[in-house]
Amino acid sequence: MMKLKKMGYTVICALLVASTMAGCTSSAKSTTADTTKAAGTAAQEQTTAAAATASKEPVTLTILANQDWVTKPYMKAIWQLYEDKTGNKLDIQAVPIDSGETIMKTKFATGEIPDIFMHFGGSGLAAYQPEKNFVDFSDAAWVADVQDYVLPQASFNDKVYGLPFWEASISGIIYNTEIFESLGLKMPTTQAEFMTACETIKAAGITPMYLAVKDTWPLLYQFGVDNMFLDSAVLGKLNSNTLKYADIPEFKTMIQWYKDMADNGYFGEKFATNTWDGAPAALGEGKAAMMLAWDSYANSDLDTKYPGISEKFSIMPAFVGAVDGGSYEGPNVCLTFANKNGKNVDAAIEYINFMADPANYNEAFKDYGTTPVFKGQNTIKTTALYNSAAEVIAEKTVASTAWPSVIGFTQVEGAKYIQECMLGISSVDECIAAMDNDRMQIAKAQQTPGF
C-alpha cells in the first residue's frame, strides 16, 4: 500500500513538473479568415472619411510595435494628432528591440493580434499571414500617393497591406568628418582605401568603427547582401534552392570582412559587449569615428544627446566587403497594418487612413530630415548627411533586397553566426554553412518550392 502511495506521489510530482514546462509552449490557434466585407473595398470606402470620424463612441486601439519605433518623433506626433482629433485612445504595446520579432510572432501564433501592427514587411511578413490577418488596402486612395521607390516594400504578393508611414533614410557608414580631416583622410572610394583609413584612425588612438556587437542586429550585414541579389536571376536561384550563400564568392568576402575588421582591432580592442545604446556616446564623444547606420540617425539619435553634432558627420557607402566600391542601401520603411479580424476593424482602418491624410502626415513630419515617402510630403527637409554626399548617394545606392526578397533571411539570427566568427568561435566557412542552414530551414518551414 505504501509502495503504491509512493508511486502515486512520484507520478503526481512528475506530472506537475511536466505540466509546468508544457505551460511554456504556445498552442497553435487557427484563426478564421472570414470577413463579411471585402477588406479592400472597406478601406476604399473609409478613405475619404479619415479624420472626421470622431462621431462614434471613442475606442481604444492597441498598437504592437518595437520599442525603438515608438520613440520616433513623427510617430509620437501622429499619435498625438490622432488622439486629439478623433477622441480615440491608443494603447501602445512596445516590445524589446532584440526579441521583439519573437514576441510579436508568438502573439500572432496565439491569436493575440492587436488592432494595429507595425513591421518592416518583406518576406518576413509571411510569418504573420497577411492575407489572413491584415486589411488589404490595395484599392485605397492613398496607395497612389506613395512614392514609386517605396511602394514595392509596402506590397506583399502584389497587394498593399501596410501604410509606409516612416522616414525614408539612406544607409551606409556615417563618419565624423572632423576626425577624418584632422588625420588628413578623405571619404574612401574603395575597400583598400577604407582599410587604410581604419588603420590611420586606429593609430591615432580612436576606434575606427563602432559596432554594437552584443545587440547582434546592428551588424547590418544586409548592406552587403543587397548587392548580391540585384540580379533577379541570382535571387531566383537562391529562393529556389539551386544556389547557396556558400556558392557566392562575395558572401565569403563579406564574412571575411567582419572577421578581418575584428581581428585588426578596427571595431576597437574590446567590442563583444558594445551595445546600440552605447553608440551615441562613442560617436558623440569622438571615441569612435564611424558606424554602420543611416543618414537620419545623426539627427534622431546623435543630435538628441549631443545637440548640433550631426553637422560634423557625413555618410559614406557601406564597405562591408561585398563590393569594392561600397554601396548605400535604399530606404527601408516600417509599415503599419490593420487587423481585419479585430473588434475595432473599422476604427483601425480609419486610423491608417488618418495617417495617410496629407494634412496629417505633413504635420507629423514637419521639419523632419528624411527623403519623402509620400508624393504629397512638403514639410520635410533632407538631412545634412544626405546633402553632404548627395552625388555619391545617387551613384551608389542599391535597393534594399536582402530583407524584403531573400526567403529565410534573418537579420538577428544570421548576425549571431557572424558574431561567433568575429570572436573566433567558428570559421568563415562554418559561419556561412550555418547561415545557409538557417535560411533553408526557414524556407522549408514556409513550404517554399525546392526546399
Binding site: 511536466a18 526579441s99 563583444a272 559587449t273 568561435i425
Partner: protein
C-alpha cells in the same frame, strides 16, 4: 510520525478534475505539437513523427545548451546549499541584528529577474562596471574584462547573479530547520564532550537534512530552468554560446520553428522529471542514513 487522515479520499476528486482540465490535458496537447510541422506559415498542421527530434539532435546549439544548463544548475545548487547552511548557522547564533540580517539576505529574492540582471550587467560592464574599476584600482593589468563577451566568464556572471538572487531562500529554509532543533540535544552533546564540528556533523546536519534536501531540489530544478537572467544578461550570446534549454526554446521559436521548439521543451521536461524522480528516491536514502 503519526499522520492522521482527516479527510476522505473523494475530497481529491475536484482538485484532480481541475488538474486534469487545466494542466494535464493542455500539457499533453501542447506536447503533441512536437510531432507535427507546426509553424506560423502552416495552415493545416500534419504529423511528422520524430522528424523534429532527429533535426534538433543535429543542432550544435543543443549540446551547448545542455552543457550550460547542467553547469548552471549544479554550480547554483552547490553554492546556494552551502551558503544557505553557512549563513543560517551564523544567523542562528542570536545576533542583535538577526532580524535585519535575515531581511538583507532575503532581499534579493524579492527582486525581479530584470532588476537583478540590470544590477549585474552594471557591475560587470566592460567600461564602467564596478568590478573592472576595482580590478583596475588594485593594479590588475588589462582590467577591461569583457565579462559578458565570452562563454565561461558570462556563465560565471549569470551564476553569480542567480546565486545572489536565490541564496536568501536557502537561508530562510535552513534557518527554519535549525530553529526546530531542540536545544537539549545540543546541550547534552556538549556535556558529553562533543566539539563544534561533531555537534554539527552528528546532530545539526542530520536534523536539517530534510530542509537541505528541499533546497537542493528547488535549486536544481530552478537552475535547470534558468532562462530570465541569461536573456537579460547575454541573450544567449555571443552567438549561441550561453544558451540554456530555456533560451534555446525561445531561439527556435524566433526562427519560426515552433514544433522544434516544443520538441526541445519535451526533451527538457523529460530530463526534469527524471532529475526530480531520482532526487526524490536518493534524498530519502540520505535522510534515512543520517
Amino acid at each position: 510520525m503519526h499522520l492522521k487522515k482527516i479527510y476522505p479520499t473523494y475530497f481529491m476528486i475536484i482538485p484532480l478534475i481541475v488538474f486534469t482540465i487545466f494542466f494535464l490535458i493542455p500539457s499533453t496537447i501542447g506536447y503533441l505539437y512536437a510531432f507535427t510541422d507546426w509553424n506560423p506559415y502552416v495552415e493545416k498542421i500534419k504529423f511528422v513523427g520524430f522528424e523534429n527530434f532527429v533535426e534538433i539532435f543535429q543542432n550544435r546549439s543543443l549540446t551547448t545548451a545542455f552543457i550550460n544548463t547542467v553547469v548552471i544548475a549544479v554550480v547554483k545548487t552547490v553554492f546556494v546549499t552551502v551558503i544557505g547552511v553557512g549563513i543560517a548557522l551564523l544567523l542562528n547564533r542570536g545576533f542583535r541584528t538577526n532580524k535585519m540580517l535575515r531581511t538583507v539576505y532575503f532581499m534579493p529574492a524579492i527582486f525581479s529577474a530584470l532588476i537583478v540582471g540590470l544590477i549585474f550587467s552594471g557591475l560587470f560592464d566592460t567600461q564602467n562596471g564596478v568590478i573592472n574599476q576595482v580590478l583596475g584600482a588594485i593594479g590588475v593589468k588589462d582590467a577591461q574584462i569583457e565579462w559578458l563577451g565570452s562563454r565561461w566568464p558570462a556563465l560565471t556572471v549569470v551564476n553569480a547573479a542567480e546565486i545572489w538572487r536565490s541564496a536568501g531562500y536557502g537561508v530562510v529554509i535552513t534557518l527554519a530547520a535549525l530553529q526546530a532543533i531542540p536545544a537539549d540535544y545540543l546541550e547534552a552533546a556538549k556535556m558529553d564532550g562533543a566539539n563544534g564540528w561533531q555537534r554539527f556533523r552528528h546532530i545539526i546536519l542530520p536534523m536539517i537534512m530534510p530542509a537541505v534536501n528541499v533546497n537542493i531540489l528547488f535549486s536544481l530544478i530552478y537552475g535547470l530552468k534558468m532562462f530570465d537572467l541569461i536573456l537579460i544578461l547575454t541573450g544567449g550570446g555571443p552567438g549561441h554560446e550561453t544558451e540554456s534549454f530555456g533560451t534555446l526554446i525561445l531561439s527556435e521559436m524566433s526562427r519560426d520553428r515552433y514544433s522544434q521548439s516544443v520538441s526541445i521543451n519535451l526533451i527538457f521536461s523529460i530530463m526534469l522529471v527524471i532529475v526530480a524522480i531520482l532526487f526524490q528516491k536518493y534524498s530519502k536514502k540520505w535522510e534515512a542514513k543520517e
